[in-house]
Symmetry: C2
Subunit: 159 residues, 2 copies
DNA sequence: CACCCTAAGTCTCGTTGACAGACCCAGCAA
DNA sequence: TTGCTGGGTCTGTCAACGAGACTTAGGGTG
């Protein structure tokens, strides 16, 4: 058996990564979030841009509203009836760090030679925004191998 | 129409978020990555901990190897034949910022009252590691609403 | 030698979800 | 009255998921 990993001792059933992925892990969730983060808030705009099938988009949006990540807001274009658009809730805005991290990873490994079609900037100063890892002692983590996982306060042993 | 969002002009078909999600967006991908980041590298250990069905785990691992996020490494326990375990590649290690960001979000919104079962620490100093957003001008982004999306160098207009 | 054990898979089969394409419906406008 | 538009629903097909049984390679045990 030669040094089994310590993590085997700990249960995984209250893991917040797992719970987060129940919401974020559906195939189109992040694409929808990217759209909304880009200011695309209306059903048909998203559908036309992304080619997500209607039914799937309907389901995904409903699920995200249900989960509390999005909310439905009424709007009315002049000479049209009241419709609804989708906006980020507080919980949704707090996904920005995740979106930025995914974008950064995608840009590094999956972009076309011309570069990324999308960037994130600081609204006030216009400079590009990046996700960085930093420890509470103030060290900036430059190599991800410096990060290690540990059981947290809510960890409990497996049956 | 009242001020359609600018993003509607831009094509989405070379978007790196979309491409990243073709790899990361499958239902169990992140859970697998969390396991491996926790040092759980063997098929059956993952299976027992996560309850992912065998077939799905096989597929997911194969897909991640194919995508270049994981690699298969031979190992041999004393008195057993050679088997294979799964490890992060460089590309996989670079997903740590994403994992940390997801964990942080999950901890904030989805944790049990006792807290998160998992934390990330700086290997050298032991202090907790967090994901933060910062712009290139050195400003730390404290409120995610300060972040805005812009077309990047690879952006091109929609047909 | 025959038999058992374990890790890491396949195989089978019923259920769920994705996807495509047609259809629907409320309200405004011509 | 008819048509347009946004935001859906309905239907049918096909791939993926999930549960459970079976398989396989090598090593150990009697």
């Amino acid at each position: 058996m030669s040094a089994r990993p310590e993590a085997l001792e700990w249960s995984v059933d209250n893991c917040t990564v797992g719970r987060a992925m129940e919401i974020l892990g559906e195939r189109w969730t992040f694409v929808v979030l990217r759209e909304i983060a880009n200011g695309i808030r209306r059903f048909d705009d998203m559908r036309v841009r992304t080619n997500i099938p209607r039914q799937v988009l309907t389901n995904r949006l409903a699920m995200l509203v249900e989960a509390g990540v999005l909310r439905k807001e009424p709007y009315q274009d002049p000479g049209a009836r009241v419709r609804h658009e989708y906006r980020l809730t507080e919980m949704g805005f707090d996904l920005w760090p995740v979106i930025v991290a995914v974008l950064q990873w995608g840009d590094r490994y999956l972009a076309d030679p011309e570069g990324s079609p999308l960037s994130t900037v600081h609204r006030d100063c216009g400079a590009p925004v990046r996700s960085v890892l930093r420890c509470d002692a103030g060290h900036e983590v430059t190599n991800p191998r410096e990060v290690a996982a540990r059981p947290g306060p809510g960890a409990h042993r497996r049956s």
